[in-house]
């Protein structure tokens, strides 16, 4: 593993520093900070997805499953047993990791479309269960996280800025995990799987194990985002937390619009899309419900057709390595 500091990394560091200072300059309870926090949270989610979706090119359309497991585990532990959501967050990560491992057994032989379909069905299974098993999950009405004022040990704060910093810290952690995975031996194995699975297997890579590890890590991080989301928004229900277009597709879309398999991609994608969506919601939803979603879909189509390698492709200087001759949308991982 080489730790050469590249221009791209400097930009990223500066971004994190600037992001950490933002709450000092804007209204700490204001709407702007909420939007910024949401953008960072979605960046962290997209980066988690990027580990399996970008590095190994396993196109998951079911990451809402792990997101929802994280939210449900921590919230239920807190509501039923009074366990702090901080511990619940780790418990959620374990549950999601196990679920990912379990799902890997039947799905990892599947390629491309089939894998996407199977993961999509998995998230739908959880949505149906959460909706119908009301004794456990609270059913279709969803769960409300009680408002406690400021109690740091119970993951409860009055100020938006506290959540903001926690989310930023989570994003940094996810990015570091991504970087270490992408640049370590694991990264080479994952890229080998992505480019040619059969060849990787012949060359001695245990492709099943590599994908399993990446998938479990990706799911666990996604679940942590789920817990933070639940604490931050105080409310969620099965249809929104296990949503295909709201969570699963959006996570993937942010990574793709930003730049699939790149370290900066999910961050750029989230900073571009989430505020855009916020603006679209503010200005368009009064005119017609669905208009902002329509715009969202159009952007996705445009992104695929115009620049499948994402916004990152417009910054050639930040590329550390020479560009591999890969097809669009399966570009190499770059720091």
């Amino acid at each position: 593993m080489r730790f050469a500091l590249k221009p791209g990394h400097v930009v990223l560091l500066l971004f994190f520093i600037a992001a950490a200072l933002l709450p000092l300059f804007v209204d700490p309870r204001g709407h702007l900070l909420r939007v910024a926090a949401m953008a960072l949270l979605f960046a962290a989610m997209a980066q988690s997805w990027n580990i399996i979706g970008g590095l190994a090119n396993q196109i998951s359309l079911g990451h809402a499953a792990f997101f929802g497991l994280g939210a449900y585990t921590s919230t239920l532990l807190f509501l039923r047993l009074g366990i702090s959501p901080w511990i619940g967050m780790l418990a959620g990560a374990v549950v999601a990791g196990l679920a990912a491992a379990l799902l890997s057994v039947p799905t990892f032989r599947l390629k491309g479309h089939y894998f996407a379909l199977a993961t999509l069905a998995f998230a739908e299974v959880l949505r149906v269960i959460a909706n119908s098993w009301a004794d456990l999950s609270g059913g279709p009405v969803g769960l409300t996280v009680p408002f406690l004022g400021t109690q740091p040990l119970s993951f409860a704060f009055r100020a938006v800025s506290s959540y903001y910093w926690i989310i930023l810290a989570l994003l940094v952690i996810v990015c570091v995990v991504f970087y270490v995975l992408a640049h370590g031996a694991m990264g080479y194995r994952l890229r080998a799987v992505r480019e040619n699975e059969a060849a990787a297997e012949v060359a001695g890579v245990n492709t099943f194990r590599v994908k399993l590890v990446a998938s479990v890590i990706s799911a666990a991080l996604t679940a942590m985002c789920g817990t933070v989301f639940a604490q931050f928004t105080f409310f969620f229900d099965p249809d929104s937390i296990f949503s295909l277009s709201g969570i699963s597709v959006r996570m993937a879309m942010i990574a793709i619009v930003g730049g699939l398999g790149t370290l900066g991609g999910p961050i750029i994608g989230a900073l571009f899309l989430i505020p855009l969506e916020e603006v679209a919601n503010a200005y368009l939803s009064s005119r017609a419900a669905g208009l902002s979603q329509l715009v969202f879909g159009l952007i996705l189509i445009a992104a695929i057709l115009i620049q499948p390698r994402g916004i990152m492709a417009f910054f050639p200087k930040t590329k550390g390595k020479t560009q591999p001759k890969a097809q669009p949308a399966t570009e190499g991982a770059r720091g």
């Binding site: 979706g53 090119n57 196109i59 359309l61 057994v105 039947p106 799905t107 032989r109 599947l110 390629k111 491309g112 479309h113 089939y114 996407a116 379909l117 199977a118 999509l120 069905a121 998995f122 739908e124 299974v125 149906v128 269960i129 909706n131 119908s132 295909l244 277009s245 597709v249 993937a252 879309m253 793709i256 699939l260 017609a288 419900a289 669905g290 208009l291 979603q293 329509l294 969202f296 879909g297 159009l298 952007i299 996705l300 189509i301 695929i304 057709l305 499948p308 097809q327 669009p328 949308a329 399966t330």
Partner: protein
């Protein structure tokens, strides 16, 4: 029990036609169309408006649904899908997912979120056969589905265009060499695929209400049917439809209605894991 079986077969025949379109698109273009269920929704709306404005029974309006959605599908394929035919699966998946979001929300803007249903004279009628009750709207939808399936089979087997579609599915390069316009054939096949699904949507309108989100109810169902029958196999999709219809109807006997779909998902994942080539190979 036999009652549930009959219900299942009537339901399954329609599922078969709805899913055949999806399978056809995959078989010919190699693209899994995540937006497919939205074309079902479009077909239902066309039939609804045909009923409302022209007084056309949905069973007849289905022809209109087929024609209009065929045209839409042809355009969508030539403008959008054609560009990602050679792209990696990720690009194809997300293009059609984007299309799904666009169509659903465009419908929401155009038609509002109300649930709309038609009223036809035979809606609550039925036939008795001993102990078995056969609901008229289900029966008519099933008959329409069978007729269309036969028409599709004849078309693919006998007509020049049908043969062109099958040729392109087998080997696009060779078909080009013998004078088939592959791009037009792709557009034609996609239009045919979504048109079939729209037709299926129209014939079930007497017993299912339409809303912009109705597609969501059918997405996993359609994929389950298609995967059961083997992706790309038209005959397989028809058989898969019957299987899913029967399973759904039988499971309703033993389990609460909310868990009905859960069964489908479990079957779906199990089939993907154990027999991704479908239950009947080479069909």
């Amino acid at each position: 029990m036999i009652q549930a079986l009959v219900d299942g077969i009537l339901l399954g025949g329609v599922y078969g036609v709805i899913s055949t379109g999806l399978s056809l698109v995959f078989g010919v273009l190699g693209v899994v169309n995540f937006a497919h269920a939205e074309f079902l929704m479009l077909g239902m709306y066309v039939a609804w408006f045909a009923w409302r404005m022209l007084g056309l029974d949905p069973l007849l309006g289905s022809v209109l649904s087929f024609i209009i959605v065929f045209a839409v599908g042809y355009g969508v394929q030539r403008l959008l899908i054609q560009r990602v035919l050679k792209a990696p699966p990720a690009a194809q998946v997300f293009l059609t997912v984007g299309l799904m979001i666009v169509i659903e929300n465009a419908a929401l803007i155009a038609f509002g979120s109300d649930f709309r249903s038609v009223s036809v004279p035979y809606q609550v009628e039925g036939y008795r056969l001993g102990d078995i009750f056969i609901s008229a709207p289900y029966l008519y939808a099933f008959i329409a589905a069978v007729v269309l399936s036969l028409a599709l089979w004849l078309f693919l087997e006998r007509s020049w265009s049908g043969r062109a579609i099958r040729a392109v599915a087998q080997d696009p390069m060779a078909s080009t060499l013998v004078g088939v316009d592959t791009k037009r054939t792709y557009g034609f096949a996609f239009g045919l695929g979504v048109g079939l699904t729209a037709f299926g949507g129209a014939v079930i309108l007497p017993y299912i209400t339409v809303s912009p989100t109705v597609g969501g109810q059918f997405v996993v169902l359609m994929f389950t049917v298609v995967v059961l029958g083997g992706l790309g196999s038209v005959t397989g999709a028809l058989v898969g439809g019957l299987v899913v219809g029967i399973v759904q109807s039988l499971s309703a006997l033993f389990f609460p209605i909310q868990l009905q779909n859960l069964f489908l998902f479990v079957i779906f994942i199990a089939v993907l894991a154990l027999r991704p080539q479908g239950l009947i190979k080479g069909a």
